[in-house]
Every structure is written in C-alpha cells, then in structure tokens.
Subunit: 220 residues, 2 copies
Amino acid sequence: MVKPNSSTVRSKTSQAASPDDLETRERILDAAHAVFTRKGTAASRTQEIAAEAGVNKALVHYYFGTKAALADAIFARALGNIMPRIFGILADPERTIAEKVPAIAREQIEFHSARPYLAGYLISELHAQPERIARLMSRQGGRVPLDVIRRQLREGARAGKIRPISAEQFVANLMGLLIFPFAIKPALRELLSLDDSRWRAFIEERRRLVPDFFMAGLRP
Amino acid sequence: MVKPNSSTVRSKTSQAASPDDLETRERILDAAHAVFTRKGTAASRTQEIAAEAGVNKALVHYYFGTKAALADAIFARALGNIMPRIFGILADPERTIAEKVPAIAREQIEFHSARPYLAGYLISELHAQPERIARLMSRQGGRVPLDVIRRQLREGARAGKIRPISAEQFVANLMGLLIFPFAIKPALRELLSLDDSRWRAFIEERRRLVPDFFMAGLRP
DNA sequence: CCCTTTATCCATCCAACGGTTGATTGACGA
DNA sequence: TCGTCAATCAACCGTTGGATGGATAAAGGG
C-alpha cells in the first residue's frame, strides 16, 4: 500500500481528509456505497464516487474495472449485511418463535432507522436487475436455512398453539411488516402527513406493535 | 390530429403497427410507461421510448418537453392508478373493516399480479426522488381520507372487538403485507427457491392468508 | 543501485444521450 | 386556392460520462 499525501507531492485540492487512514480500496467502496444507495446505481456517476473517496476517477477503474462491477460489489455487500441479520436469528434452534419475532423486529427497525436509504436502494436494484441476485447468491453459495422455522411452525401448529402457516409465508409477512414502511418512507410521510418527529414516533411505535400484531396473527 | 400512415407517404420500417388507432400522445405515454417501469427512469432512454411508440425521438420532446416531465407524468399516472384502489375502499363508510380487508387484498393481489413491475418501479422512483411525491400530491390536491377507518377502528376498539391501533399503522401493515412480496419478487423467488409455478401458488395462497392473518392480528 | 510492481493522476477518447432545428406534410378555414 | 397551424421526421449539436493510455512516483527485492 502506498498511502499518499504524506507531505511531499500532493497538491490535491480535496476535502475528504478526515478518515484517511482507511485503505484506498475501502474508501472507494464506502464512497460508492454512499452514492449508490443515495441516488441509485443508474443515476450515480463514477466521478462523484471518486470525489467522495478523495481520489481520481481513473483509480476507481483501476480497482474495480467497470462501474457495473463496482455496483455488483456494493449490492452484494449490502445484501450480505442485511440477510444474516434476519436469517441468522430465524435459523437459531435455541429460540422459540415467540422469542425470534421480537428479536428480529428490534433488530430490523434499529437497522433501517440507521440506514434510511438501504431498503429503497435494495428494492431499486432488485427491480433494475432482477437476475443479478440469482447470480450473486449462486456464486457465494448459500440458500436460506428455513428448516428450523419450518419445523417450529409445524410443531406449533400440531400443538394447536399457532395456526398452520408455511415458512415462506411467515418470512414474507414478517419482512413486509418490518421493511416496507422504510422502503416507501417518502410516500408514507406524505400520505399520512408525518413530519420528522411524527415519523420517528410512528416507527418507534412499530417496535412494539409489529411483534404483537404478528404474533396475534399467528394465533389459531 | 393527423393520423399518418393512411396510405400515401410513410416508408416507415417500423413494427408497432397493431394498436395504432391510439392517439400519438397516448402511444408515447404507454411506451414510456412500459420502458420506465421495466428499467427505471434513470436507465431508460428517450430513444427507446420513441421506438416503442413507433415514433421519432423529437416527437417525444414535442409532446412532453423533457424526459423528466415525461417521467413525472408516468409516475403520477401510476400513482393515480394504484392509490384510489386502496383508499377508495378504505374510505367507504358502508363497509365494515372485516369486509374491507379481504376486498383490498383481492384487489391488490389481482392488480400487482397483472403488473409485476409496478411495485418495484414505484418504490424505485420514490427512492430516487423522494421530494417528487410531495410536489405531485400538493399539486393535484388530495390528502388521504383516513377518517372513516380511523372512526371504525376506534369504535371496534371501544366495543372490544379489535385491539387499539392507529389508522396509520393499520394502513402500513396492510400495504406491507400486500405489496412488499411483489416489490422484492426476484429476491423472494431466489431466497425461497420458488420457480414460476410455485411463485404463482405462493401468491395465490396469499389471497386467503393475508386477510386471515391480518384480521387475526387485529383481534384483542 | 537498478528494475519491477503497485498506486495514483492527468489528459484524452469515444459513444451515447438529451435536446434542438429546420424542413415537410397534410388538414382546414378564409 | 392559399396561408396557417399542428404533427412529424431526419439530421444535427453540445455535453456528459465511462473507459483507457501513458506518465510518475514510491516501495521493495535482488
């Protein structure tokens, strides 16, 4: 690694000085993440990414070849960040369903509150390139482990404690309740006339409400 | 209106012949809808829209000025198509909540099954230009009529028939359950290993499941 | 000390894209 | 029958943006 701007050369106008100890490659990745998630891949400019990374546009190509490859990397990274948070908990055989649901809800609401662009970004990318996810998931192996919840749901149903529901529908319902509001945030805010503080209250309320609502929906 | 290709001039290579009685302006709108919803606004090319409309690129500008204006028109049109379907039913004072929920579910699942791109498109646009929806909604007036459900929810809660829930959360939950799976269709199909026919079965099942699940979630 | 490798920038290229212009054509009212 | 106007097209223009080639500098091995 080279790490420029020691003292010698570097006229470099540039901002971006602060978190400069990061490896350049990482800085570019972070910048790309910021720009891509904010404006969407198609509307993002490599120039802007380079600037945000405090680096020359050519260097972006040096590290990642093409814009599309960089976009793939960011998408895969975001996916690899969010998916284990959901499926890691779901696949845990130690916890009951009644424990998992609030845990996931807490986790996801926390997560998306801190990353308001992410849900919208992921859906946009999914929509723009529906085939990519198959490519990425096959490459890094790993279909999703539904067997644990599937078993728990079956046992709960047999014991008459919950109504019969497939693991697929279970997951779809849970994700819809948790993620969707973040994905359409601008529309919801307008539709429901929620200013900043009411939006926060709205989301805060869902932390309680969603687990209750969801578990109630499962009762037979 | 002029209506070309009568018989005289028109060398015109072009396909697009079939539904040609539509006014040109409408043909362009339809083409723009198809292209924009399929690839997203930023990745769409006016040239492609023109081609799909069987028309010259200059004509697109002749009718709509700029790509952005055309994009606005398509977005507003899509919004004006989907929103009344939900809020029209919700605002009906004649139907009870227990009647509205299955009605909306039927309607929405039908709607999105026939328009697989629409949910993803709307969320992408929302994400790419969060301020636009405020602009459009203020222009054509019309905040959403939540008072009817709000009253019904309050009365249901007072009578002890449903648990207390705000109209806002009610709407968010319902939309999340109904729309989200369509919005992330490519991911769900991959995650849950649903091929074409299993996807259809999955959606078909939700027609029953969502109203049941949702109404159960409302029980006190 | 050279020579190779890695990292970085500058300048430039080229395709593509959004938008414009000017000409043509047909319909129609005066 | 002529002039006007809306509709339409082919060709063009200016800019942007992704990509590349070459120069340069530091690092490090031999």
